[in-house]
């Protein structure tokens, strides 16, 4: 098991090198002919107007919040899903199922609440 994680680590290191290597090659090979106009931010050919880091739609934030809620739910369902068959074999399937059902229903009510409040509308 630990050995497998060692393989994962080696793979990650080799992967990072594979990604960094071309950048080094580019640094060595690519031509350099820089002038200020080239470094202008692209804005359909005109000189950029104002800052790019401006205000944006609050909806993105709302969706991110609901996402955190449900992503945590999904994470909690994983261990349940792994042991579910084991519990069935021990004749405890109904018990474990009702527990997960309660969990999902409570979060489902959260989804319905957000839905009714209009948090899922994209206008």
């Amino acid at each position: 098991m630990l050995l497998d994680w060692l393989y994962v680590a080696v793979f990650a290191v080799v992967g990072i090198i594979m990604a960094a290597l071309p950048l080094a090659v580019v640094w060595l090979l690519a031509p350099r002919a820089d002038y200020p106009q080239k470094r202008l931010t692209y804005e359909s050919g005109v000189v950029p107007f104002g800052q790019a880091w401006a205000q944006f739609n609050i909806r993105y934030y709302l969706f991110a919040l609901i996402f955190v809620l449900f992503e945590v739910e999904v994470i909690y369902l994983f261990p349940w899903a792994v042991v579910f068959r084991e519990f069935i074999n021990r004749q405890l399937g109904g018990f474990v199922f009702v527990e997960a059902l309660l969990f999902i229903v409570i979060l489902g009510m959260g989804l319905i609440y957000a839905w009714r409040k209009g948090a899922l509308e994209w206008v």
Binding site: D34, R39, T41, Y42, F67
Partner: protein
């Protein structure tokens, strides 16, 4: 210990080279197939059937000038494409390509690392991949980039839930998070044929997979008519290529995951399954998935952003939740 390290090193390098080559040729495959769909020829001049085209493209991108726009946040600007590419590569550490094979008198498993939480590694890595896009769009200090990366992150997090729920149905059926054990649980019947919950989970997974890879018809983050090139507007040369490699590699990743989780991995169809070795079945299934991705792009127009969010939150998420419960009920009742 040293021997093991060398073995891991050799395996990693071989796997990565195969993957990068496959990704390069996926770009050619897509261009050729799209051309066929539209009754064009596509790139056919570089070598026979245009087979040298990816090589020419790669060399061109290596020799491009690599300048950094004046307004960007330099560290993050360099980091973002690297995150995109490395996370796309990293997933393959746990994806199995076949049962063990005999080579040089030893049994070599065709999976780099059979960790017991394999599918969680995949999901976690793809979540980190979102950072590449968000940081890339934010650091570029360009309005198109910022809007593209915001859209992209909203889309990715919305569909990640659906992806996770599809995977949970599989975990319920297999009773394990290990990719190898999930495949072995499909020896008799592929999970996609466990009607209805397996089939529904498969469809949820595919739809979410298309959205996760930012592919048509969910390619809003780089809707070129509205956002120039989305989060990669300010990127050129090889930094652009890294985003590109990341995106195309995740197309292969989603196909490979669908193969592993739903289409029986290295197990072929019932009667003719034994005619070909396991790894050939895996490659055939991945190829079918990739073809499906290109076919989809040639067929469907892009959806609107509100349609995308409505589909994700009001249709796929409830269906996914109900599907998980349905799978649990059927499993519990069947064991009676």
């Amino acid at each position: 210990m040293t021997g093991l390290l060398v073995e891991a090193l050799i395996k990693s390098i071989v796997l990565l080279l195969v993957l990068l080559t496959a990704t390069a040729y996926l770009t050619l495959l897509e261009r050729r197939l799209l051309a066929k769909f539209q009754l064009r020829f596509g790139p056919n001049r570089a070598g026979p059937l245009g087979l040298l085209q990816p090589l020419a493209d790669g060399l061109k991108l290596l020799f491009k000038e690599s300048f950094v726009p004046a307004q960007v946040d330099p560290i993050i600007y360099w980091l973002a494409p690297s995150i995109s590419m490395v996370t796309a590569l990293f997933v393959y550490a746990v994806i199995p390509f076949g049962p063990s094979i005999q080579l040089f008198g030893r049994s070599i498993p065709l999976v780099l690392a059979d960790v017991n939480v394999g599918i969680l590694v995949v999901l976690a890595t793809s979540s980190i991949g979102v950072y590449g896009i968000i940081l890339g769009g934010w650091s570029a200090s360009n309005k198109f980039s910022l809007l593209g990366s915001l859209r992209s992150s909203a889309q990715l997090i919305s569909y990640e839930l659906t992806l996770g729920l599809g995977v949970i149905a599989v975990v319920l059926l297999a009773g394990s998070l290990s990719m190898v054990q999930i495949v072995e649980a499909q020896r008799d019947l592929w999970f996609v044929f466990r009607f209805p919950y397996g089939t529904v989970a498969f469809m949820l997974f595919l739809i979410a997979g298309v959205a996760e890879t930012n592919r048509a018809p969910f390619d809003l983050p780089e809707a070129e008519q509205e956002l120039v090139a989305g989060y990669q507007t300010e990127y050129g040369g090889f930094k652009f290529a890294m985003f590109y490699i990341g995106e195309y590699m995740s197309v292969i990743t989603i196909s490979a995951l669908a193969t592993t989780l739903f289409l029986g991995g290295w197990y072929g169809p019932p009667v003719i399954g034994r005619w070909l070795p396991g790894i050939v079945w895996v490659i055939l299934k991945i190829f079918a998935g990739v073809f499906w991705f290109v076919w989809l792009r040639a067929t469907f127009p892009r959806v609107r952003h509100d349609q995308l969010m409505t589909l994700g939150w009001k249709v796929l998420l409830p269906v996914g939740l109900v599907n998980v419960l349905l799978a649990a009920v059927v499993l519990a009742l069947r064991s009676r």
